[in-house]
């Protein structure tokens, strides 16, 4: 992990600040294309507000469809940031340095996108404030025993924490940019950097804040997806009412989130030619991590599946029958296992695959296709089970509007990342410089062994 090129401070500045100080040719056309898709996304939402949720495929008995699937999926993606940033920071893993900010920023945009879906799904989104205890006159309070009330608190806590995390790690780079820009940019960075001078006291405080936030945000990160899982599990809907849902959702989120980071890193390395910073070693380490995460995900997946059948209850069995033996759900089950575990993990076992960027890109995409399908597979069959009276039977058929929302959500996250890249460096400049200082080698006989520095 220490096989990086030795770079001077000037070289690090030039490479990593170039995204802010220069604009590559492809930037504005891509931003334009994404903006068009985001425009479609916003139009869809306006149409849904105008004509009601009836224009989607949602109908009795399935009222939770693509929008809730998207919500769970993007909350899952958002788990990558904290997983990578906090845990690796606490463990002092050296390979974290180029990865952390990209992961944290992905968290923020993915979480903001996720939070928009329950709002859209409410139909009358202007009444969202009903989840807060606001009406002192009528003495009507939200039911605090409901996870649907815990959800907003958890998500906004996580969003606040993740934003602070990004900002805290940005401070030295904002000071750096302030000193290298002019005009409005200088004013902007001067205000944002909060008087950063880079003296030892400021660095010490920033270090302590980083460790504290890392420790504090970890329980929040686990609680967010657990609470999302309890939206389903505390109900008595067959196949949702399972004790394993919380850790199962969390580990699935980490699986898709870390894969999302891999996808993003491959793209960024290619676009910005960051070969000196994001090396095959990083993908190797992430590949190893993903083997462990994917195996843990499979364990929880199988536990959920096994105990769904084990109880032998007719309602559970009817859902399992749909999930496993009825198309399209049976085919989806096959795809989830194959794309989410068998293909990627078999490939990641080989070092050459883990260090090959094309392979890592393709495999990480496959994992997220599998994870999106998994959320759909978990949510919809439970609602459209045919155990109840026949008048209440129904099949979910998503329409064009829902597909537009799915596509648009990806565009929103990508656009957010591109705007961020234009304003802030996506690889922490100060961390890279610190990493350069901490690079070492030990001589053993004629061999030179890469080493890390520890206090």
């Amino acid at each position: 992990m220490q096989e990086r090129r030795v770079l001077t401070d000037i070289q690090v500045n030039r490479s990593l600040l170039s995204t802010v100080l220069d604009t590559p040719n492809w930037y504005w056309p891509v931003v334009g294309a994404l903006s068009i898709i985001v425009g479609g996304f916003v139009t869809t939402i306006i149409l849904m507000i105008t004509f009601g949720l009836g224009i989607t495929g949602l109908n009795r008995p399935v009222f939770w469809g693509f929008m809730i699937v998207n919500f769970v999926f993007w909350v899952g993606i958002s788990h990558a940031g904290v997983m990578i940033s906090s845990i690796l920071r606490i463990c002092q893993a050296e390979w974290r340095r180029p990865v952390t900010r990209a992961a944290e920023v992905l968290t923020v945009f993915a979480l903001a996108t996720a939070a928009s879906f329950p709002l859209i799904h409410m139909g009358r989104m202007w009444r969202f404030y009903w989840v807060f205890p606001y009406d002192f006159d009528r003495m009507i309070w939200p039911d605090v025993r409901s996870p649907l009330i815990w959800d907003p608190s958890a998500i906004f806590t996580y969003l606040t924490g993740a934003s602070m995390f990004v900002f805290m790690a940005l401070l030295p780079d904002l000071g750096n940019l302030r000193d290298r820009t002019t005009g409005w940019q200088r004013t902007f960075y001067a205000i944002a950097s909060l008087g950063w001078r880079g003296n030892p006291r400021q660095f010490k405080l920033q270090f302590i804040l980083g460790i504290l936030l890392s420790g504090l945000i970890l329980p929040v990160f686990v609680s967010v997806h657990s609470i999302v899982s309890w939206d389903f599990a505390v109900s008595l809907v067959p196949a949702w009412h399972a004790t394993v849902f919380a850790p199962y959702f969390v580990i699935g989120a980490v699986h898709s989130g870390v894969s999302g980071v891999v996808t993003m890193m491959v793209v960024l390395r290619k676009l910005f030619k960051w070969d000196d910073f994001i090396t095959p070693d990083h993908f190797d380490a992430l590949g190893r991590l993903l083997i462990a995460v994917a195996t843990a995900w499979l364990y929880f997946f199988m536990l959920d599946l096994f105990f769904g059948i084990y109880g032998g209850e007719s309602r559970e069995l009817s859902v399992m029958d749909q999930r496993l033996l009825t198309m399209p759900w049976g085919g989806m089950f096959f795809l989830i296992i194959v794309l989410g575990y068998i293909v990627p993990v078999s490939a990641w076992l080989f070092r050459s695959v883990r260090r090959n960027l094309t392979w890592m890109f393709v495999l990480s995409i496959l994992v997220n296709v599998s994870m999106w399908l998994e959320r759909l597979w978990l949510i919809v069959p439970g609602l459209q089970n045919k155990e109840r009276l026949p008048f209440d039977w129904g099949v979910y058929e998503p329409g064009l509007f829902e597909i537009m929302l799915v596509v648009g959500s990806f565009a929103v996250v990508c656009l957010g990342l591109l705007v961020f890249i234009k304003l802030f460096p996506l690889i922490p400049v100060w961390e890279e410089k610190e990493g350069q200082l901490f690079q070492a080698e030990i001589r053993i006989g004629k061999r030179r062994v890469p080493a890390i520095i520890r206090e």
Partner: protein, 459 residues
């Protein structure tokens, strides 16, 4: 309290002999002149007491399952602690934790206690009912009465064999060093085990790959065994218990207890001749893990509990009464505080976590918690005599442990100590080859006026 156990003044890193030759002399010296003979005798007496307790329990026959509940709990406690302790060696090798080197063998040595796990399983096979009368985990598998018993035997035996394999392959270079450097009878039986070792590159490659792959396999086996044990010895005995998180909870709480068992052992060894090898790093880092595991214990327990609490169906209420709020309520409360609340509050406090005594005391508390956790689960499950049905119709009454149960518990503690002490007379308790490797790969340097350590990490 704070002053008594806070050890910031302790050197965080082990103070090893300076040269490889001196290190070899010191490690092999400890091996050929082992301490703890008095403790060996005491633990032998405890084992005899345990055998007497077992005989008392056996005299009552196998028909009263409730009477064997405490025996089952103590057995699973043994499986949860000693069998899980080697995992720290596996995990830190995989993550290349530089602080692991003095303690990996001490962790792996717990694999020898597998002998006791296999022996103690035999009577349980007679107590457990065959496949009839349970909501069987084997579902539509071809009919066979004794699948639960067969799966238990296969799991525990497989884990024990794998543990011995891991210990043997990791110790082989050190056994060879003992063969070549320790004179006379001091070489012991271990020298024979090292037959054929010449330290060729090919042999080293086998050792390195062996410890990695066997370690991963051991971890997977352990998770599998916890699945089988928790299902066949608890879930399927209680009508209506459908709880997918329970095997995972069982495995996580076992990893917590296994780590606690190791840290407690490290504390004892540090006080008995291994002070130079076991410094603050070897307690502080596991202390962080113990704190994380305390939170994980709560998370896994809570994730299951909240679903049952919200569901409140008849089967769920029956399970909650059986293993939490009914006959084993007292054990559940002790388990809750000792596995979660007390160790977490202790270890989140820097002066306690960054010390040697702090993690050791927290480990002792966690072990008590794990024992009571197993009691609330297995005594609760074994007390249910109802066969078939969708939920527990009659919540059983509390049954206190008798003399036989207490003697068996004492015997198991003695048995763990006895086997461990015998093991360290056959295999060196310090991984000499890994310590030497660490010596080669560590250098003290100065950066900007501060003294730092450069730790080599070859791929």
């Amino acid at each position: 309290m704070q002053h008594a156990i806070h050890s910031r003044h302790v050197n965080p890193r082990p103070h090893l002999p300076e040269t490889p030759a001196a290190l070899t002399r010191d490690v092999l010296g400890k091996f050929s002149r082992p301490q703890g003979t008095g403790l060996l005798v005491v633990s032998g007496i405890l084992v005899l007491l345990g055998i007497a307790g077992f005989a008392m329990r056996l005299s009552g026959g196998f028909s009263d399952r409730g009477a064997w509940g405490y025996y089952a709990a103590i057995y699973v406690f043994l499986l949860s602690t000693a069998a899980a302790a080697p995992i720290l060696a596996v995990a830190t090798r995989l993550t290349k934790g530089y602080w692991r080197k003095p303690l990996v063998r001490m962790a792996e040595m717990f694999a020898t206690v597998g002998i006791l796990s296999v022996a103690m399983l035999i009577p349980i096979l007679g107590v457990l009912p065959p496949i009839e009368g349970r909501t069987t985990f084997w579902m539509a598998w071809p009919d066979h009465h004794w699948y639960p018993q067969m799966s238990l035997v296969a799991g525990v035996l497989g884990l024990t064999i794998c543990g011995f394999g891991l210990l043997f392959i990791s110790a082989k270079p050190d056994l060879a060093a003992a063969r070549d450097h320790v004179p006379g009878a001091g070489r012991g039986f271990g020298a024979w085990l090292a037959t054929g070792w010449a330290g060729t590159p090919h042999q080293w490659k086998i050792v390195r790959q062996g410890v990695t792959y066997l370690g991963i396999f051991y971890l997977m086996m352990l998770v599998g065994v916890h699945f089988v044990v928790s299902v066949e010895m608890a879930i399927t005995l209680v009508p209506g218990w459908r709880d997918p998180i329970f095997p995972a909870y069982h495995a996580v709480s076992s990893l917590q207890a296994g780590l606690a068992m190791l840290v407690l052992t490290l504390g004892i060894l540090r006080a008995n001749g291994y002070k130079e090898y076991l410094a603050l790093d070897q307690f502080w880092n596991p202390g962080k893990l113990l704190m994380s595991f305390s939170m994980l214990w709560f998370y896994f327990w809570w994730s299951g509990f909240i679903i049952f609490w919200y569901g409140r169906t008849a089967p769920e209420e029956g399970v909650m009464m059986t293993v939490m709020f009914g006959p084993t309520f007292g054990a559940f409360i002790v388990a809750f505080f000792c596995s979660f609340a007390v160790p977490l509050l202790m270890l989140m406090w820097n002066p306690v976590r960054v010390s040697i005594k702090g993690p050791v005391i927290a480990s002792a508390v966690i072990l008590v918690g794990n024992l009571f956790d197993r009691i609330r689960i297995y005594e609760g499950a074994f007390l249910v005599t109802q066969q078939g049905g969708h939920f527990v119709e009659h919540i059983p009454a509390t049954r206190m442990p008798d003399v036989a149960d207490l003697l068996v518990a004492v015997g198991v503690v003695g048995g763990i100590m006895f086997i461990y002490l015998i093991g360290m007379r056959i295999i060196p308790l310090l991984s000499l080859w890994e310590l030497k490797e660490g010596q080669l790969l560590t250098e003290t340097r100065h950066i900007l006026g501060a003294e730092v350590v450069a730790i080599g990490k070859p791929e």
